[in-house]
C-alpha cells in the first residue's frame, strides 16, 4: 500500500466487466455480497463492444442488404445501397444500449463500479490505476477476487495491428469504409464470419488458412456448406498456407503466403495438399484481417503477487468451481481457457459468485452450446458421434435435411440439416449439430434435451408447431427412431 493510501474493503473484487465478470458481479450482489467491479475500458467487454454483438449486428445488416439484392426468385427486385458508416452507427447504438444496460444492472444490484486497471499487490490486496495522468490509483482489500480479464486477438509475426492495413477483428468491425479487397488470415469462426460480412458488402475476399479446411474443430459436413456458400459469395480460399509477411504494393498491399509446415501438408494427398506445394503465392489486397485466435489477458494483473499460477499459454487453470490454485481467487471467462465463449464465461461467473457465497454450485460443460454466425449458421451442443463413441457409447444418429422442411423452403434458406446423436441403448440425447437457417437458435432446444436427460422419444413426441424450423429437430429424433415422416428413414 502506498503511504497515505487508505484501502477500501470488499467481499468480492471482480476484475473485468465482460459477460463473465459483470454476471459474476451481479450474481454476487444478488447474494448480498459486497462487490467491487473494476473495468479498464468499457462495460460489456469484448463481447458487447468488439465481438459478439457488433459482429452480429453487422452480419444481420449485411444479410438484409444481401438478401434484398438476391430475392428475385421470391419476386422481390431491389438494389439496396449500403452506407457503411450508417450501418456502423446503428451497430454502435445497439452496443451503447447494451453496455449502458450492463452498467445500470450492476448498480441496481449494488455493485460498486470502478474504472481503472487492476493488478494484484498481494493475496488480498489489489491496486487499481485509474486511466490518464494525475487520475491516481487506489488499493482495494478483498476477501475473494474473480479474474475476468478476457482475451485479445493473437498477433502473428510481421503483422502488427498498429500498422494501418493490418486489422484484427475489433478493428475490422470499426471500419469506416468498405475495403475493395481483403485477405483474411485464419478460417476459424471469426475469420469466416467476417469474410462473409465483407464478401456480402462487395469486398473481394481471400481466405488463407494454415489447416486443410474451414472451421477447424467442426465436423466436415458442418463446415462444408459454409465453405460452399462463401465460395458462392466469391470468397477465394487457400488452405495449408500461412501468411508470413506483407508489403506495400501499388495502392494497396501484397500478402505473402507460404506452404504450412510439412506435418499438415503430409496428412492428405489430395488437391489441397498439392496446392500447398505451389509456391510462392502472393495476394494483392487493400487490407489484411488476422483472425488466428485469441490469447488471454493476464500480463497486467501481476497474478504472481496473489500466488495465482498460469499455464504455458497464459490461461489461468481452474477447477469445476472456477477456483484457481489460490482458494479465494477465481478465474472465469476467456482468461480461464477454452471454450472461449461468452455464455461459458457468464455461466462460470454465476458459479464463481455462488461458490463464494457458499452455495453448492459447480460448472458443468456437458451441454455447452456453440454458435457460428456464418451463412449458413452452425450450432452445436454436447457430443459429436465420434466423441460419444470415444466415451464408450454405442450411438444412433438421426438427421433431417432442411430441404425437407416446409418452413426452411419458405425462408429461401434450405441448405443444411439437424443431426441428433443419441445413446443407442436408452435413447438419451448426447449431442446435436445443426447447420442451416437459425441453427444458433435451434440448438437451444437440444441443449435442454441433453441437460434434462431427454430421450429421442421425448423429443420426437413433443409436438412442434408447424410450419417452423424447429420441426426439424423433432423430425431428426424421429429419423433416429426409424419413424420419420418427411424424410427417408435409414
Amino acid at each position: 500500500m502506498v503511504v497515505g493510501d487508505i484501502a477500501t474493503g470488499t467481499d468480492v473484487l471482480v476484475i473485468g466487466a465482460g459477460p463473465a465478470g459483470y454476471v459474476a458481479a451481479i450474481r454476487a450482489g444478488q447474494l448480498d455480497l459486497d462487490v467491487t467491479l473494476v473495468e479498464k475500458e468499457a462495460y460489456g467487454g469484448t463481447c458487447l463492444n468488439h465481438g459478439c454483438i457488433p459482429s452480429k449486428a453487422l452480419i444481420t445488416a449485411t444479410n438484409v442488404a444481401h438478401e434484398a439484392a438476391h430475392a428475385e426468385e421470391m419476386g422481390v427486385h431491389a438494389d439496396p445501397a449500403v452506407d457503411l458508416s450508417g450501418m456502423v452507427g446503428w451497430k454502435d447504438d445497439v452496443v451503447n444500449q447494451l453496455t449502458s444496460g450492463v452498467e445500470k444492472l450492476c448498480k441496481a444490484n449494488g455493485v460498486n463500479l470502478i474504472e481503472g486497471e487492476a493488478h494484484f499487490a498481494d493475496e488480498h490486496t489489489a491496486r487499481v490505476s485509474h486511466g490518464g495522468e494525475g487520475q491516481g490509483s487506489e488499493s482495494i482489500e478483498f476477501e475473494h477476487a474473480v479474474v475476468a480479464t478476457g482475451s485479445r486477438p493473437i498477433e502473428i509475426p510481421n503483422f502488427s495491428y498498429d500498422d494501418d492495413p493490418v486489422l484484427n477483428s475489433r478493428q475490422a468491425l470499426a471500419l469506416e469504409s468498405i475495403p475493395e479487397s481483403l485477405v483474411v488470415v485464419g478460417a476459424g469462426y471469426i475469420g469466416m464470419e467476417l469474410a462473409g460480412v465483407f464478401a456480402k458488402l462487395g469486398t473481394d475476399v481471400t481466405v488463407v488458412e494454415m489447416l486443410e479446411d474451414v472451421l477447424p474443430g467442426y465436423e466436415d459436413d458442418l463446415a462444408r456448406p459454409v465453405k460452399k456458400r462463401a465460395e458462392e459469395f466469391g470468397v477465394e480460399f487457400h488452405f495449408e498456407r500461412t501468411a508470413t509477411k506483407w508489403y506495400e504494393h501499388g495502392d494497396g498491399i501484397r500478402v505473402v503466403t507460404e506452404p504450412a509446415g510439412q506435418a499438415q501438408a503430409a496428412t492428405d494427398g489430395g488437391a489441397q495438399a498439392r496446392e500447398a506445394e505451389e509456391e510462392p503465392l502472393e495476394i494483392d489486397a487493400e487490407k489484411v484481417l488476422v483472425a488466428v485466435g485469441r490469447t488471454p489477458v493476464t500480463e497486467t494483473l501481476d497474478l504472481e503477487n496473489a500466488g495465482v499460477e498460469t499455464d504455458e499459454r497464459g490461461f489461468v487453470p481452474t477447477d469445476d468451481r472456477a477456483r484457481t490454485n489460490v482458494e479465494h481467487v477465481f478465474a472465469i471467462g476467456d482468461v480461464a481457457g477454452e471454450p472461449m465463449l461468452a455464455h461459458t464465461g457468464s455461466m462460470e461467473g454465476q458459479v464463481a459468485a455462488e461458490v463464494i457465497a457458499g452455495e453448492p454450485s459447480a460448472i458443468d460443460y456437458q451441454a455447452m452450446p456453440a454458435a457460428v454466425f456464418t451463412e449458413p449458421e452452425i450450432g452445436t451442443v454436447g457430443m459429436t458421434q465420434q466423441e460419444a463413441e470415444e466415451q464408450g457409447f454405442e450411438t444412433v444418429t438421426g438427421k433431417f435435411p432442411f430441404r425437407a422442411s416446409g418452413r426452411a423452403l419458405t425462408t429461401g434458406h434450405a441448405e443444411g440439416f439437424v443431426r441428433i446423436v443419441a445413446d443407442a441403448d436408452a435413447g438419451f440425447v448426447l449431442g446435436a449439430q445443426v447447420v442451416g437457417p437459425e441453427a444458433s437458435e435451434l440448438i437451444a432446444e437440444l441443449g435442454l434435451a441433453i441437460e434434462l436427460g431427454a430421450t429421442l422419444e421425448d423429443v420426437a413426441e413433443t409436438v412442434h408447431a408447424h410450419p417452423t424450423l424447429a420441426e426439424s429437430v423433432m423430425e431428426a429424433a424421429e429419423n433416429a427412431l426409424g419413424r420419420a415422416i418427411h424424410t427417408l428413414n435409414r
Binding site: 456437458q366 466415451q391 464408450g392 457409447f393 441403448d425 438419451f428 436427460g453
Partner: protein, 506 residues
C-alpha cells in the same frame, strides 16, 4: 450394505461437537446402541451409540475434530447384507481402480466433483447432489430410461441405499446402467493395466490418444507420453482416458505418501505448542465473552460472620451422614440466596435483548459453578426453592459429581436463573465472577476463615474474638440492577447466613 451414520443432535440445539475419541475401529463388530464415539458438545461429553448391528466400515472423522451435526462420522456394514465392493482397505491396493468405482466411498463428502462423462440427470438434480454431497456417478437412476431423479439423490444422501457402485453394477440389466458402465467396459485392455504398478513413467516420444484423452491429461496435469499404454494402434502406443486417470491417481497417491513420510520425520521439540481452540474451552470462552461484552458488570464485595452457620452445619452434618448425604455449606448458601432473590426479584430476572423485555422468573433454578478437569461447568439444581437442605445437598452432590466425570447431560447444564460459585476451595478472598449470561446475578463465596472480629455483647461491651468469616462477591447486570440494590441483596443474603435459623422460616 453400507449404512452411513450422521452425528445426531446430541443435545437440544447443538450445532456441532468435538469428536473426543473413537471407541471402535474399522472392522469391529458393533451392536445397536453400543457406544462408538465420545462427542463433547456444549460442555457435556456424550457417548454416541451405534444405530445398527454391524461392522464398522470407515471412521470419517478424527479425534479432536469439530463435526457439524448431520455430518457422516462413521459408516457400518450392516450384518447379513453384502458389503459394498469398494472396501477402503482394498482400494489402496487397487491403485489403478477407475474413479467411478471409488465414488461409493466418497458419497457424502463435503464437496463432490462434477462427474466427468454423461450423467443422465437434469440440472436441478445435479445441484441437489452437490448440496447433499452425493456422487452422481454412483447413483442408479429410477426415472424414465434410468434417469436420476431428485428422489434417487435424496435416497443416496440419506442412507446410501442406492448410492453405491456395487448396486449400480448390480442393476446392469437396466439400460442406463449399461450406458454408464460402457465407458469402462469398452476398454478391456485397461483392466490389465489396473494390476500393474502405475507410478512408473512410460517416457515415450510419441503417443496416440483421442483429443478428449489429451484434454483429460492436461486437466490431470500428467504428461501423456508418461502414461503407460494398454493398447497399440498402428504399432504406436495408444492411451485411453482410463489409463490417464489411473496414472494420475497413482501419481497423486505417491505424492501423498511422500508428503506423509516427510511429515513423519518432523521433530517434536518445540518452544510453543498450538492446539485447536475447541470443545469445552471454546464454549466457555464464547459464553464469557458474550456475557462480559453484553452485560455491564458491577461487583459488590462484603464479608459475613458465619460462626452460627458453622455451628449449625456441624450439628446437622452427622444427621445428614446417617442418611448418606455429605452436607456442605452450599445448600445453606443456596437457601440464603433464594430467600434474598424472593425479595429482589430483579436479581432472578434477565434481559431479553432480542425482544427488549425484562423477564422476571417465578422459579428458582440455582446453578452451581463447578471446576472440572476440562473447565468450568454449571450444573443446575432445578426448583431449589421447593427443596429442603438435604435434598438440595443430595442433588447438588450428584450433579457436581456427574460434571466432574463428564457424564452430565446438556439439559442438566441449562436453565439456571441465578448462579453461585465457590471460589474458596483453592484460595483468595474476593473475585469478580462473570455473569452466567443472561442471568442478572452471580454470587461468589470465599473460603470460611477464622478471623478476629469486634463482637458487641448484649450489654454493649466490645471484645475481639476469633470468628468464622466468609467473603461474598456479587456481580450483577448493571443494566437491570443499581448498585444500592446489589448491596441490599447482599445484605439480605448475609442476614440469612449470619442467622441460619431464619432459613427455617423459608
Amino acid at each position: 450394505m453400507v449404512r452411513e451414520f450422521k452425528l445426531p443432535d446430541v443435545g437440544e440445539g447443538v450445532a456441532e461437537g468435538e469428536l473426543v475419541s473413537w471407541l471402535v475401529e474399522p472392522g469391529d463388530a458393533v451392536s445397536e446402541d453400543q457406544p462408538v464415539a465420545e462427542v463433547e458438545t456444549d460442555k457435556a461429553l456424550v457417548e454416541v451409540p451405534s444405530p445398527v448391528d454391524g461392522t464398522v466400515r470407515e471412521l470419517r472423522a478424527e479425534a479432536g475434530e469439530m463435526v457439524p451435526v448431520g455430518d457422516v462420522i462413521v459408516t457400518f456394514d450392516v450384518e447379513g447384507e453384502e458389503p459394498a465392493e469398494a472396501e477402503p482397505a482394498e482400494s489402496d491396493e487397487r491403485a489403478g481402480e477407475p474413479e467411478a468405482e471409488e465414488g461409493g466411498a466418497e458419497a457424502g463428502s463435503e464437496e463432490v466433483a462434477t462427474p466427468e462423462g454423461r450423467v443422465f440427470a437434469p440440472p436441478r438434480v445435479r445441484r441437489l447432489a452437490r448440496e447433499e454431497g452425493v456422487d452422481l456417478s454412483t447413483v442408479e437412476g429410477s426415472g424414465p430410461g434410468g434417469r436420476i431423479t431428485e428422489g434417487d439423490v435424496r435416497a443416496a444422501a440419506e442412507g446410501g441405499a442406492s448410492g453405491t457402485a456395487a448396486e449400480a453394477d448390480a442393476g446392469a440389466a437396466d439400460p442406463a446402467s449399461e450406458a454408464g458402465d460402457a465407458g469402462a467396459a469398452q476398454a478391456p485392455a485397461s483392466t490389465e493395466t489396473t494390476a500393474a504398478p502405475q507410478v512408473e513413467s512410460a517416457d515415450r516420444d510419441r503417443t496416440l490418444a483421442a483429443p478428449a484423452t489429451r484434454r483429460i491429461a492436461d486437466e490431470e496435469g500428467v504428461d501423456i507420453d508418461a502414461v503407460p499404454a494398454a493398447e497399440e494402434r498402428d504399432g504406436e502406443a495408444f492411451v485411453t482416458p482410463e489409463a490417464v486417470r489411473e496414472y494420475a491417481e497413482a501419481q497423486r497417491r505417491a505424492q501423498e505418501a511422500d508428503a506423509a513420510a516427510l511429515a513423519g520425520r518432523e521433530e517434536p521439540a518445540e518452544r510453543e505448542r498450538r492446539e485447536p481452540f475447541t470443545g469445552v474451552r471454546r464454549t466457555i470462552a464464547e459464553a464469557m465473552e458474550r456475557s462480559k461484552y453484553t452485560a455491564p458488570h458491577v461487583t459488590h464485595h462484603d464479608e459475613v460472620d458465619v460462626t452460627k452457620l458453622v455451628e449449625t452445619r456441624e450439628r446437622l452434618k452427622p444427621v445428614a451422614e446417617e442418611r448418606g448425604i455429605g452436607l456442605t455449606y452450599m445448600p445453606f448458601i443456596m437457601k440464603a440466596a433464594i430467600a434474598a432473590l424472593k425479595e429482589f426479584p430483579q436479581m432472578n430476572a434477565m434481559i431479553d435483548d432480542e425482544n427488549e423485555e425484562i423477564v422476571y422468573k417465578n422459579y428458582y433454578n440455582v446453578g452451581v459453578a463447578t471446576a472440572t478437569d476440562v473447565g468450568l461447568m454449571v450444573p443446575v439444581v432445578e426448583d431449589a426453592d421447593r427443596k429442603g437442605l438435604l435434598q438440595l445437598s443430595s442433588e447438588m452432590n450428584e450433579l457436581v459429581q456427574k460434571a466432574r466425570e463428564r457424564s452430565i447431560s446438556p439439559n442438566e447444564l441449562r436453565g439456571s436463573t441465578f448462579t453461585i460459585t465457590n471460589i474458596g476451595g483453592i484460595g483468595g478472598e474476593y473475585a469478580t465472577p462473570i455473569l452466567n449470561y443472561p442471568e442478572a446475578g452471580i454470587l461468589a463465596v470465599g473460603e470460611i476463615k477464622r478471623k478476629p472480629r469486634v463482637v458487641t455483647d448484649e450489654d454493649g461491651n466490645e471484645s475481639i474474638e476469633p470468628r468464622s468469616v466468609m467473603t461474598l462477591s456479587l456481580s450483577f447486570d448493571h443494566r437491570l440492577i443499581d448498585g444500592a440494590e446489589g448491596a441490599r441483596f447482599t445484605n439480605k443474603v448475609m442476614e440469612y447466613l449470619e442467622n441460619p435459623e431464619l432459613l427455617l422460616l423459608e
